[in-house]
Symmetry: C2
Subunit: 245 residues, 2 copies
């Protein structure tokens, strides 16, 4: 019995997120289905993160225990033959028995893409959030600088989440840049509360349009009040791009 | 009655090309359907090109005659409200009565994207042609240089096309570059034979793998023999990106 670490990427547009659910299709499900065919045994995989419906991953890590005989170097091609076009394995290795894809993450990087063009780009309709309003990037960057650091991020957690007293996270960096008609957010943190990235993006967009004052961020953070932060930006603009152990 | 020039862009993945057809959905059809609602009259549009099923356009021009009262500056938003997410109007202007979107083109630019990564990128499954073989770009560029110029391109026309004696075209430029895992072809010409870009790409890929000698291109061109050129690269990698009048 060995512990395998599988690296993959997926276009999440057609999936109800990573985590297995009843009555709807998830990425975990299609990965386990392919794995069953390749490994010739029923396998449950553990993902590094529960991505929401419509969220994408340019790098996603999961692990599983198996007695399969397929060598690691053959796994990507063997798996990709069984997987749909929008999910794709890029690597496989045997790791320590105690490696856990979810609990052992040191940090993760997310990218969020906003289509800030005058007209909605048909090529990114499922891959970016269309927001055609004029944005003050300098103000957004100042606001972002207040988010970097170790804070109680309760104000940036979807209401209804049940994590009281465990809402402190460390954001290592939060960058905002423009590339042609897109505004791109890149965030690195040791962990994320439910919807945290999407609420940060919504809050920074409110700063960009002037609805929220850039210097009110420290106050908003310390309020721990979800009603003080901005809207939850759409899932389709969000990408998990790096997971470090 | 005025002559309108409409600029649009579309993700062609879901369409059987531009040109109206029976029993399958085309871009022309959805544009005309939206136009009927916006202009309150039945309108036939003339496209700058017949793109094939699955081909994309980052810029596409069409024209139509109409007595509508909608001002040009309101057309993009009015049309986009009626159009599906994968087709999108970016501009509208009144032009000379004799402007014809197809016959008046001076040149057009096409881009072709090859996914040359080890594993198929799930994000470009419908937007690039997956070809994971090692490519010699220097050889491909040399071969490309022979294609630039005024030639009889009969060898680069889908067999069965009926254009005998009218197969001379001028290719102004043909560039091949690598960007991360993608190989990108950019071609500008005064006109194109049926499948010409896709056959040029297939031929250059054969040069890239060594199947075809880079210096055999002048010979292949002058043979005017479709059997001497390479395969027709898949439609999904092809983008019309510029049309000049």
């Amino acid at each position: 019995m060995a512990n395998y670490k599988l690296t993959l990427r997926y276009d999440g547009a057609a999936y109800h997120g990573w985590q297995r659910q009843k009555n709807c299709i998830t990425v975990q499900q299609v990965v386990e289905r392919a794995l069953k065919k390749v490994a010739k045994e029923r396998i449950t995989v553990t993902g590094c993160s529960r991505t929401d419906a419509g969220v994408h991953a340019k790098k996603f890590v999961c692990n599983f225990q198996s007695e399969m005989t397929v060598p690691c170097r053959k796994m990507p091609l063997a798996m990709n033959r069984m997987l749909p076009y929008d999910v794709n394995v890029t690597g496989c290795e045997i790791v320590d028995d105690d490696f856990h894809a979810q609990f052992d993450t040191k940090w993760k990087r997310y990218v969020y893409i906003v289509d800030n063009g005058e007209y909605k780009n048909p090529f990114t309709a499922k891959y970016a959030y269309y927001y055609p309003y004029k944005l003050n990037l300098t103000a957004m960057r100042t606001a972002a600088s207040y988010i970097v650091g170790t804070h109680d991020f309760a104000a940036f957690m979807a209401s209804g989440s049940n994590l009281k007293g465990h809402t402190v996270r460390t954001v290592f960096s939060l960058n905002v840049k423009r590339r042609a008609n897109e505004v791109i957010f890149t965030i690195e943190a040791d962990g994320y509360l439910y919807n945290m990235v999407r609420i940060i993006v919504g809050t920074l967009l409110d700063v960009g349009t002037g609805k929220t004052d850039r210097h009110s961020l420290p106050d908003i953070i310390s309020s721990a009040d979800r009603k003080r932060t901005g809207f939850t930006a759409a899932a389709r603009g969000l990408y998990l791009t790096e997971v470090e152990y």
